[in-house]
Symmetry: C2
Subunit: 354 residues, 2 copies
Amino acid sequence: MNGYHVAVVGATGAVGTRMLAMVAQSPLPIASVKALASKRSAGKTVKCGDQELTVEETTDDSFAGVDIALFSAGGAVSKRFAPSAVKAGAIVVDNTSAFRMDPEIPLVVPEVNPEALRQHHGIIANPNCSTIQMVTALEPIRKAFGLKRVMVSTYQAVSGAGQRALNELFAEAQAYLDGDVTKVTPEILPTGGDKKHYQMAFNALPQIDVFEDDGYSHEEWKMIHETKKIMMGDMDDPELKVTATCVRVPVPIAHGEEVYFEVADANADADAIRAVLAQAPGVVVQDDPAHQVYPQPANAEGKRDVFVGRIRPDEENSGFFHMWNVSDNLLKGAAWNSMQIAETMHDMGLIQPK
Amino acid sequence: MNGYHVAVVGATGAVGTRMLAMVAQSPLPIASVKALASKRSAGKTVKCGDQELTVEETTDDSFAGVDIALFSAGGAVSKRFAPSAVKAGAIVVDNTSAFRMDPEIPLVVPEVNPEALRQHHGIIANPNCSTIQMVTALEPIRKAFGLKRVMVSTYQAVSGAGQRALNELFAEAQAYLDGDVTKVTPEILPTGGDKKHYQMAFNALPQIDVFEDDGYSHEEWKMIHETKKIMMGDMDDPELKVTATCVRVPVPIAHGEEVYFEVADANADADAIRAVLAQAPGVVVQDDPAHQVYPQPANAEGKRDVFVGRIRPDEENSGFFHMWNVSDNLLKGAAWNSMQIAETMHDMGLIQPK
């Protein structure tokens, strides 16, 4: 059959299982799908649409004949195996932070900077989840009115820390409702990569990823520098100023973001911004406060769009506006944006099925 | 006995029960305590320290002999009965929005504007919970460095909507964990005063109180105008610019706030701000990211302080800083600030025990 041979690395994870679903639902011609993971997961079965796949261990030889390799098994796995996949002739869409800040590697949100895909050398980096949904909503505003400053406060879902973190949230929540949250000992949240772990159920934790020396968390650092690279082409671009505070909240899936921003055009108003966003690809405006219509994580789960509402001016600072956006961090923030990159490369003629 | 005769109106509520605890723990000489509520609650018993009190229905005659009346039974009850209490010779500390914007009525956080108490005519308004914890942390910064702009994003606890809202959160959470959140029909959240009600468990709702015509929620309006009245003496003060986005998160008790602010003094830095806050009354600095020390709602519950951390500069906008504060919305945000107002009036000689 004439079509793409696809491999998903990290196929058993929260993102990997959704990557398989995105492959199954893709309009691209798909010839075969391979589910790869660690040795520990080899032999398990996973679903790709109606197909049942047996998970194989990822090795240097896994990528023979593969055209599209979607990686979501952690930065170390990407660094170890992405070069093998490229060598075998695959294009790699990598959903880890391994290559994002490499100036030679495109960091792409298809609605924002698809042209960056033309510069690829085999690997394309998928941005951080919280960055993706923000730039999808900000780019149409930047194009229409110019964008000077962005200040974002996030309300991030627990699934961003993986399936085990989700299990920890639910176990803690049940223990809390049973009267003793200490029956569950936190082992992952706020982040598996740091020393101390805290109760997440019925709590809010202002730490996502580890802290940098300057007091910003690495998640905040990512939002600042990835936003600049995606929207401005340079991770240190000084023209667009970005600052961020990232907070984990006890929501399973879909991040919320309060985005406060300054536009350049003195004539911009909330209605004009709303009109621009209503036409924007990947964006759905849900903004009718009089009827209590605004984006909610519980409604965004399982959908591919970025939902935007609560658009309103700062009434005392001309040019400054607020908006509240919500999107499924496992789909637009990860699995869907990754597959969408492959679909966009196909549409642009950058890849062809064999 | 020589001491104050105290009445708590709304004694069975989430705030009222805590007001009784604050009275029991007060260093003031207390001669008697009266628990008042609606007719529906009359005859119930409530605790004031070791004392058991029988709840009485609130009437115009309830305040004979009362020196201090703490109200937290909704704006309508305050409007109806506060004048009777004042007529009977009591000072009223009102924890509703009924009188907050009356220019003749002091709106007081004792750490911030105790001198405003001297202007009272019997009623003192207790500010909105989210405002109190923010201004407690901002006033020391304003005094030391000047304050030009405040932009706050809140992560507010469900108990701000009352005990029934808390019950709704827990019932929904259990239904969610049992596999069907729709088994519980939301009847209160996001706000009992509006038409539609949404799932709060494992969700985030960018609505607190009803929406104004300009797209801001009334909670956001309160944060803007109460902050100006408390810190600047005028609810429309143009010198201090304030904007707010208020979001309810599935946390039972203690609000979190990301406060982004601009100081006037070009020499201010994060260390200097931290040093000022370390000396500030009612504030506890918890700010050591290298050791994962930062304020958390789960740790603030039951405490009277405002906990502040994540203090850091916006690295691209000189004079702008972030901080993350957390406080028990039912204590410093309501019951404690109310009783603290009475204690401060005593200390200032504005009231005396009979």
